[in-house]
């Protein structure tokens, strides 16, 4: 075991919960039963479903316009009705360009989910594969990976995110391939997702590595090895299902933080430029708060609040249900 990760892994290993892993299906079923009894968690699940519905709707609006080659409604300016207060036609008023604030928030939901998703596309494979390799093979490979993530963890996130965003932007202007990508994804969104992805995998990698360290000594792994299973097969067929729930837990705890981080990144000017994200809405609204224009800031804050709250509570409940012993380690890295 490398020195760096010693305390956490040993701490977890020191617990009496070191049991033979249950067959994965029943683990999920047991977790679901426990979750169902948690009323608060179920309420949050409903809230999450509502948000997910909103997200699908927003994607629908976005893609319909894209395919038809027209400008989506939420992007059309009506300068004659700028900064209007809430009314029957516009429940949350209109913004600087006379666009409906509610529609902006709905699109903001889309952006929030896209951030969570796109970032995870980078974080999960990177964190999982590196963590698995490090934990399973140990020795030199482990030292190398632990070194890599120690370095990444020691570079200020903002520096990495900013520079990755910078590279992405330059690439968009230079390469035709990137241009075709940004035909579908906002280049600012892509930039911060890549940035947050390459800074965010460390937490997951640590946890997965710790688990693989434990599992590789287990009976079922030793048996598989005796039967001549290949390393790849043991890593990804035998062990992976037993640690897969950690990915979900990691995701549900990381997602709300990504949403909050986007607001700060927008404030710093590294963010989404051409689509309405909650961060940009909040930053724009701050200038008009003084005019008694509370609905813009309030709307975005509330939209964000319920999603983050539901994710936080549901994530906690999910973690408790799936893997109670993880709490300490997770709270620290998440």
């Amino acid at each position: 075991m490398s020195a760096d990760d010693l305390p956490r892994a040993t701490f977890a290993a020191g617990r009496p919960t070191d049991v033979i892993p249950a067959a994965s299906e029943s683990l999920w079923r047991m977790a679901w039963r426990q979750l169902r009894q948690n009323r608060l968690a179920m309420v949050c699940l409903v809230i999450l479903c509502v948000y997910t519905g909103t997200w699908f709707y927003a994607e629908g609006v976005y893609w319909t316009a894209k395919i038809r080659g027209v400008i989506p409604n939420y992007k059309i300016s009506h300068y004659e009705i700028r900064n209007e207060p809430p009314s029957r036609a516009h429940l949350l008023g209109t913004n600087f360009a006379g666009r409906d604030n509610l529609q902006q928030l709905v699109q903001g939901t889309r952006i929030a989910f896209e951030i969570g998703l796109l970032t995870s596309v980078i974080v999960i494979p990177l964190g999982f594969v590196l963590g698995a390799l490090a934990g399973y093979f140990g020795r030199k490979l482990d030292s190398a990976i632990v070194y890599l993530y120690s370095v990444v963890a020691s570079v200020p996130d903002i520096l990495l995110i900013m520079s990755i965003a910078y590279v992405t932007r330059s690439a968009v202007d230079r390469s035709p391939a990137m241009q075709s990508v940004t035909r579908y994804i906002d280049s600012g969104l892509l930039a911060i997702c890549v940035g947050m992805g390459f800074t965010g995998w460390v937490g997951l990698c640590r946890i997965i590595r710790g688990e693989y360290l434990k599992h590789r000594e287990r009976q079922y792994v030793l048996a598989a090895r005796a039967l001549g299973a290949s390393h790849g097969s043991i890593m990804f067929r035998h062990i992976a299902p037993n640690v897969a729930h950690l990915i979900i837990i990691n995701f549900s705890l990381r997602f709300p933080n990504l949403i909050l981080a986007e607001v700060v990144l927008s404030y710093l000017g590294i963010g989404i430029a051409n689509e309405p994200s909650w961060g940009t809405i909040i930053n724009d609204a701050k200038q008009r708060l003084w005019l008694g224009n509370w609905w813009e800031l309030g709307g975005a804050t509330i939209a964000m609040f319920f999603l983050v709250l539901a994710l936080n509570i549901f994530g906690d409940a999910l973690r408790d249900a799936l893997d109670p012993k993880l709490r300490t380690a997770e709270a620290k890295t998440g």
Partner: protein
């Protein structure tokens, strides 16, 4: 044990080199020649070439293979590292000040905000966590957990904006902006505590509860020890280890300051300095702050592990 400590402390070196490598890569390779920024908008090509030469920006980036092996290290990256190791931080392109002076002047104000903020957040966090754990499952516990999660679900930017607008500007309870007397620190610290305490409560409650489900607690309860005594005498003592870890790990961040608070409330600290430097591609300042930051971070991480090993006999080193 001694060998372990030495090994652990020595790990600072390769990690810091790695961090500097990434930072250097970002700023010199991606960011382009700093001579442009120095020369200004009216610069001619010859002027830029001249500045590049004067400052060594025209040397190879990482290693000088052209003059192998005698001048192998006559390249930009080794020279940047060499200077940093000597604590020669250079000069800011943007403000033309010595970076070391800038860091020294910025550290004070940053600490003035972050230290009380951290102390209050910690005490309040632990106190509330103990309260919640003591009444675990009851309405106090649930209420506290819900409140802290709710507090975590609002962007810190919103807290700052609302506090500054209502508490300072409208109701005039606090100064809006400035760094004149301790009175000016109240609002930023308050906002920081409100924005941050939720996460602390949630974390420490988990830590305490983790301890409470241990064998020895069950044994103690079976022996008839009062639940208050269990909480304060046994559980808290054992929970001190993860608490201590969390505290030590947070210390390097005191130095980096709180960017948003500094910006809105006018604290001339390091958080603002660092981000300004990042945006202006002010190489020397960024190199210095990441260098110091990463050393502190890795060092305190190592300290945590050492403290852990020392405090908890269950942990052995293989």
């Amino acid at each position: 044990m001694t060998a372990y400590i030495i090994r652990r402390l020595l790990s600072v070196i390769p990690i810091t080199i790695g961090v500097m490598f990434i930072t250097f890569f970002v700023f010199r390779v991606v960011g382009g020649n700093p001579a442009y920024r120095i020369a200004g908008k009216n610069a001619t090509a010859t002027r830029i070439a001249q500045i590049s030469h004067e400052r060594g920006y025209d040397k190879p980036l990482f290693l000088n293979f052209r003059q192998f092996p005698r001048h192998l290290l006559d390249a930009q990256f080794p020279q940047v590292c060499w200077k940093l190791v000597h604590f020669d931080f250079g000069e800011s392109v943007i403000t033309k000040q010595h970076v070391s002076t800038m860091l020294l002047e910025g550290a004070g104000p940053s600490l003035c905000v972050t230290t009380p903020l951290f102390a209050i957040e910690l005490t309040l966090g632990i106190a509330l966590a103990l309260l919640a754990a003591y009444y675990r499952g009851g309405w106090i516990d649930r209420g506290l957990v819900l409140l802290s999660v709710m507090g975590m679900s609002v962007s810190s930017l919103v807290y700052i904006m609302l506090a500054q607008y209502w508490l300072a500007s409208q109701w005039r309870l606090f100064p809006v902006w400035g760094f004149e007397s301790p009175r000016y620190l109240i609002l930023p610290v308050l906002v920081g505590v409100i924005a941050g305490v939720g996460a602390e409560v949630r974390f420490y409650r988990t830590v305490v509860l983790d301890e409470m489900y241990q064998e020895y607690v069950r044994t103690a309860r079976a022996k008839g020890v009062s639940s208050r005594a269990i909480l304060f005498r046994h559980v808290l003592r054992n929970a001190l280890i993860p608490i201590l870890t969390n505290v030590i790990i947070a210390i390097p961040f005191l130095y980096t300051g709180a960017l948003l608070l500094e910006n809105f409330f006018g604290i001339p600290g390091l958080g603002r300095l660092t981000v300004m430097a990042l945006f202006n591609f002010d190489d020397d300042v960024v190199f210095a702050t990441t260098f110091i930051g990463s050393i502190l971070f890795v060092l305190f991480n190592a300290l945590t592990d050492i403290a852990y090993t020392w405090a908890d006999p269950r942990i052995r080193i293989k």
